[in-house]
């Protein structure tokens, strides 16, 4: 509409274009609703007043426990995970200019997952420290980082971004095969634990874990938001960016590292949850075509909402058993993705 056209000419000036403001408000509303829903649903149905009182520590200890120690950490973990995956996907799609790039497609989350399964495997074999949350987060980051390093090395051989993304796919397939192999040769209980990790689960959310992850997440968010100009430049034209020389290459590496960091946070917290990093950036792009800071915020909010919504479904659909979060995001994500992608292709 008219406002959008005016804004489009002054691309860099408006931090949050008008059309995006509406979208962000809607996203904020969605996140709030979803958060409320997450706090209210569960085996103990708690009405809104109950939630409020529980948060103020003014009610039955059981309800307080359930709301503050179980549902709230799970909610926070879901928010962090969803936001991280969405931003990671956004960064990867920007940097590689391939619209189907995402942590899962490029093998980052598989690499992280492989290292986590290795750590579980070693933990079972006797190395106790291997399974602490610290270690798993570090190991996940190492895995994602390693895959990125390999991809960058391949990129130097042939500067074709799509080839690089495809190589990520190949690496993902090799990682998946390695994970299957590890699960087969280990004792069966590790296979089952690793299986849960591979499909994503928010069950282990607790305050301590969340503190670590939240700290890392906030740092990464600040870094990403502060780099919005570089991201915007990358989105216009990569050749323009590269022509700016050495600092551009460093910026690129920095942004890739951010993507790896976000992926590591998500995988260490909840395991591999797919499709969030793939679909959410496309959705945001459609609803908020300009303005990188707005898009970043949009990704954060929408990704968070998606994962928390999926978690609500995972907890309630086959109570008392739990579905993996990844399957719900897949069922929501794939049709959305196909619709968005194929419609875009037609235009």
């Amino acid at each position: 509409m008219h406002t959008d056209r005016v804004v489009r000419q002054r691309f860099f000036s408006g931090l949050i274009p008008a059309g995006c403001r509406r979208f962000l408000l809607l996203a904020l509303l969605a996140v709030s609703l979803v958060m409320l829903g997450a706090l209210m649903t569960g085996p103990l149905a708690i009405p809104i007043e109950g939630i409020y009182r529980a948060l103020q520590h003014e009610t039955d200890p059981l309800l307080q426990l359930v709301v503050n120690e179980l549902r709230m950490p799970r909610l926070v973990l879901g928010l962090i995970t969803g936001a991280s995956l969405a931003v990671a996907g956004f960064l990867l799609q920007t940097l590689t200019r391939v619209s189907i790039a995402s942590p899962a497609v490029m093998g980052l989350s598989d690499g992280a997952g492989l290292c986590v399964v290795l750590a579980l495997f070693l933990g079972d074999r006797g190395w106790e420290g291997a399974t602490s949350p610290w270690m798993l987060a570090a190991v996940a980051f190492a895995g994602a980082g390693l895959v990125l390093l390999i991809l960058r090395g391949l990129f130097r051989l042939d500067p074709d971004l799509e080839k690089m993304v495809f190589s990520g796919l190949v690496i993902a397939a090799v990682c998946k095969a390695s994970i299957s192999l590890l699960m087969l040769i280990s004792q069966s209980d590790i296979a089952a634990q690793a299986q849960l990790w591979l499909v994503g689960s928010l069950a282990q959310a607790n305050r301590q874990l969340n503190h670590y992850l939240l700290g890392g997440f906030i740092v990464l968010c600040l870094l990403t938001l502060s780099a919005y100009r570089q991201i915007a430049l990358f989105r216009i034209s990569e050749s323009l960016m590269m022509s700016l020389g050495e600092s551009a290459i460093r910026q690129q590496r920095f942004l890739y590292a951010l993507a790896a960091g976000f992926t590591a946070i998500a995988v260490a917290g909840a395991g591999q949850i797919g499709f969030v990093g793939l679909v959410v950036p496309h959705l945001v792009q459609r609803l908020c075509p300009r303005g990188v800071p707005a898009q970043l915020l949009g990704n954060l909010l929408c990704g968070a909402a998606l994962v928390v919504l999926a978690d609500i479904g995972a907890r309630t659909l086959i109570a008392p058993y739990e579905l993996p979060v990844g399957i719900i995001t897949a069922f929501i994500g794939v049709p959305c993705f196909l619709v968005l992608y194929l419609k875009r292709g037609k235009q």
Binding site: V98, I100, A104, V105, L154, L157, D158, D160, E162, K163, V165, F166, S167, L169, V170, I171, A173, V174, K176, A177, S178, S180, L181, M183, L184, I185, S188, A191, A192, Q195, L196, L198, V199, G274, F275, L278, Y321, L323, P324, G326, I327, A330, F331, V334, F337, L338, Y341, L342, G345, K346
Partner: protein, 329 residues
């Protein structure tokens, strides 16, 4: 040149088959086999018939089936990176099989084959529909990437079923990685009708394979029906994939790499490329199966893991050997 290549490949295949027959946890010698034919020894002959012979037969047949399926897919989609595993056809077939086993635990083999076939056909048609949405100017990587997205969905479903039914996880995992050890000749025979029908279709398609690289109007101009050609190729490919996957599970990289290698070996002889791919595929999977016996001796590694560990780096090497992907055929 092709004739020498053929004999070379055939010879290598025979050697590989012999290796498959003779090596393993228990090493046999050719002399023993020879004696077996003259003076039957029930213990040895049953050992050979039950363990080695199935592997010796299944590996080449399924390898050839997967390689040819990959070649047909690449022809139909005109995409050098199309393959059953990349495009998610394997994942679709696996998902259907795992779902079926979850709901109907003791499902008969023939039904599983049928399901795998339907899944393969369905997935291929879906991909072709998606292909129409993709611009010609778009990169050749669009289709594989789209197929990957779908295969991620299918593997999510498969993984979910596995977590919901932890009791059957081990066997499901073993099947999902692609395994030749432990398969019986009966399973191969159950898949044989599908493979034979595919063979009939391929024999009819063979003279027309070059046509796939022309546009639809040109094909019609030459007097052939492009839709029917494509349908035959899809059916043949799906039958091959269904047959192979129902016996050994979803094995990756064979369908992708072998046609590229065949293209590299015989770049100009289109009709010869299919038999060459078949031979190469047979050889590759047989060698992978032999290797699978020794990597973690004395345990058997699933052959799908071997093809992934070897095929992954080889594929990357192939991708990065040339500066541009070979679009021309």
């Amino acid at each position: 040149m092709p004739r020498r290549l053929f004999f070379g490949l055939a010879g290598s295949l025979v050697l590989a088959a012999l290796a498959s027959l003779l090596t393993g946890y228990r090493w046999l010698s050719p002399v023993q086999i020879f004696h077996l034919m003259s003076a039957p020894d029930p213990a040895l002959s049953s050992f050979v018939l039950e363990y080695r012979l199935p592997r010796m037969l299944i590996a080449p047949i399924c390898g050839a089936a997967l390689a040819v399926a990959g070649l047909l897919l690449q022809s139909v989609t005109r995409n050098p990176l199309a393959a059953p595993d990349i495009l998610g056809i394997n994942a679709a077939a696996s998902m259907c099989v795992v779902l079926a086993l979850f709901f109907i635990p003791d499902l008969a083999l023939s039904w599983l084959n049928l399901l795998a076939f339907l899944a393969a056909v369905g997935m291929t048609c879906l991909l072709l529909l998606m292909l129409r949405q993709i611009d010609e100017r778009d990169s050749v990587l669009r289709l594989p990437l789209l197929g990957t997205v779908l295969s991620l969905l299918f593997s999510s479903v498969t993984q979910t079923v596995l977590t919901l039914d932890p009791a059957t996880q081990d066997q499901a995992l073993s099947w999902l990685t692609g395994n030749i050890a432990g398969r019986s000749v009966a399973q191969l025979i159950a898949a044989l009708p599908w493979l034979l029908v595919a063979l009939v279709l391929i024999v009819r398609l063979l003279p027309r394979l070059d046509l796939f690289y022309l546009g639809d109007t040109q094909i019609s101009a030459l007097g052939f029906h492009p839709g029917r050609l494509r349908l035959m190729a899809i059916l043949a490919g799906s039958l091959l994939v269904a047959g192979a996957v129902s016996v050994v599970g979803p094995i990756g990289f064979i369908g992708l790499l072998i046609p590229r290698m065949a293209h590299f070996l015989v770049p100009h002889h289109h009709r010869v490329r299919l038999p060459v791919a078949a031979l190469l595929g047979a050889l590759a999977l047989t060698l992978a199966d032999v290797l699978a016996r020794f990597i973690l001796f004395p345990e058997d590694v699933p052959v799908g893991a071997v093809t992934a560990f070897i095929g992954g780096p080889v594929l990357l090497m192939l991708l990065y050997r040339r500066r541009r992907l070979a679009y021309a055929h």
